[in-house]
């Protein structure tokens, strides 16, 4: 039963519960008109303590497409936080007005703190470099919808594997499914941390810095951005940001049915010429993100189209 629950990290939900959400998301994709009013009279509190474009728009679009309404703020300066209000007081107050809350916060663990003090479901929309569970749900739904199954895949993760929060969450989430192999493609300076590898079986992954050699093995290629803000030295950033630029040439040995994913925004790590390749699904992925959030909101509110 997902009604009334919080989503703070992907492991909060069992595989069966995740599947429930994905099944509903796929039904919404098939028949979006059936869901236009399921959240009529419901209000989403959108608490964005730091700027976000895609995640906030995606949540707001999701609620509006279900017939619900949205109130909230998109930066801490325009809220009572600027007056020094605590997170627990804010969520208790927001809970008086709304039915469900979504929170993005720069401090790690802030949504968990909110959930402990909240009578309404709280969804973590990203807390610092810690968790971003709805991005993981987005990635899983994209794989399920386009590859028909979440098991039996070889997934290449490429770029900044050291600091990439989405990569860490995705590896943890996918490792719960059967027969998944990971290929970690990164420059030596941005290798995946040991604590992530320690949770995997030895024969379930290999590491390489050569994307062209690895690409023919892959069913899924997950590209990430090298983030400027992670580097103290601008020269180091400039050198590494161009480590892996995916273009048509590098894709020539890839499988015909491989999919190319990216959490967006991209800088230059995927050349725009790749956008026209049928294997490029990163904009579809953003759309799946909205559908999975629609399904998540419905499940946590306990509403369905027959109610």
């Amino acid at each position: 039963m997902l009604k009334g629950r919080h989503l703070i990290e992907p492991k909060d939900f069992s595989l069966e519960e995740l599947d429930e959400i994905f099944t509903l998301a796929e039904e919404i994709i098939e028949n979006p008109r059936d869901y236009l009013e399921v959240c009529k009279g419901k209000l989403l509190g959108s608490l964005f303590y730091e700027p976000s474009t895609r995640t906030r728009f995606s949540f707001e679009a999701a609620m509006l497409r279900l017939g619900g309404q949205v109130v909230g703020f998109s930066e801490a300066g325009s809220s009572s936080v600027s007056k020094g209000e605590s997170i627990s007081d804010t969520i208790k107050t927001v809970g008086c007005y709304t039915d469900i809350a979504v929170m993005r916060h720069p401090k790690e663990g802030a949504p968990k703190l909110a959930s402990k003090n909240s009578d309404i479901p709280v969804i973590n929309a990203g807390d610092g470099g810690h968790q971003h569970p709805t991005q993981t749900l987005t990635d899983l739904l994209t794989i399920k919808a386009l590859k028909k199954d979440l098991s039996n895949h070889t997934i290449g993760l490429c770029g900044d594997l050291m600091f990439g929060r989405t990569v860490h969450s995705l590896v943890k989430a996918m490792s719960r499914y059967e027969n998944i192999k990971f290929v970690f493609i990164s420059p030596p300076e941005l290798k995946i941390p040991d604590y992530i590898k320690n949770e995997l079986k030895d024969n379930n992954y290999y590491e390489t810095s050569d994307i062209e050699a690895a690409i023919e093995d892959l069913d899924i290629l997950y590209m990430t951005r090298v983030q400027r803000e992670r580097f103290l030295n601008e020269e180091e950033y400039l050198r590494l940001k161009n480590s892996y630029i995916l273009n048509n040439e590098k894709l020539k040995n890839a499988k015909e049915d491989m999919i190319i994913m990216h959490p967006l925004p991209r800088v230059n790590e995927i050349h725009t010429e790749v956008d026209n390749d049928k294997r490029a699904v990163y904009f579809k992925q953003a759309r799946y993100g909205m559908f999975v959030r629609m399904a998540l909101i419905m499940k946590l509110l306990g509403v369905d189209k027959n109610a």
Binding site: I87, S88, H105, K107, G128, H130
Partner: protein, 140 residues
């Protein structure tokens, strides 16, 4: 050697790593005690070379979890009629609340006033505990 009377009824905290005695003394708020207490530092010890020792002439409830975190090798002797009637070895607790502070500067616990933050032991050898909010490991 400095001589301090044996106690009739109370608690002796023994085998404290030299230098940690004052920390435990403060943690147990013994500096505010209105009964007889003694903190003895750098006592010669066969086992440790040097050790600290605390004697408390009173029956008080000790928080073994706090003591285990500060120094898991200490021994607690319960004294009655000048004799040891019980010996307790403290261990690193699996979970602790309200004693540790998260060392991750990006953690919400560094800016919000949260009581009883729970930490879970993840590595007994390195004495590392995981913060319930940000999952960062903090060693004692």
């Amino acid at each position: 050697m400095l001589n301090i009377d044996s106690i009739k009824k109370g608690i002796v905290i023994d085998h404290i790593k030299a230098g940690c005695g004052y920390k435990i003394f403060k943690e147990l708020k013994l500096h505010k005690a209105d009964y007889t207490v003694a903190l003895i530092k750098n006592v010669p010890s066969k086992q440790l070379g040097k050790k600290d020792l605390i004697k408390i002439e009173n029956e008080i409830d000790l928080d073994f979890k706090v003591l285990g975190i500060i120094d898991p090798n200490i021994t607690i002797n319960i004294i009655k009629n000048e004799e040891i009637i019980d010996k307790i070895n403290v261990k690193l607790p699996k979970k602790v609340k309200g004693t540790l502070k998260c060392k991750n500067p990006r953690c919400v616990t560094t800016v919000e006033n949260i009581e009883d933050v729970e930490f879970t032991l993840v590595n007994r050898e390195t004495k590392e505990y995981k913060c319930e909010y940000c999952d960062t490991n903090t060693s004692i």
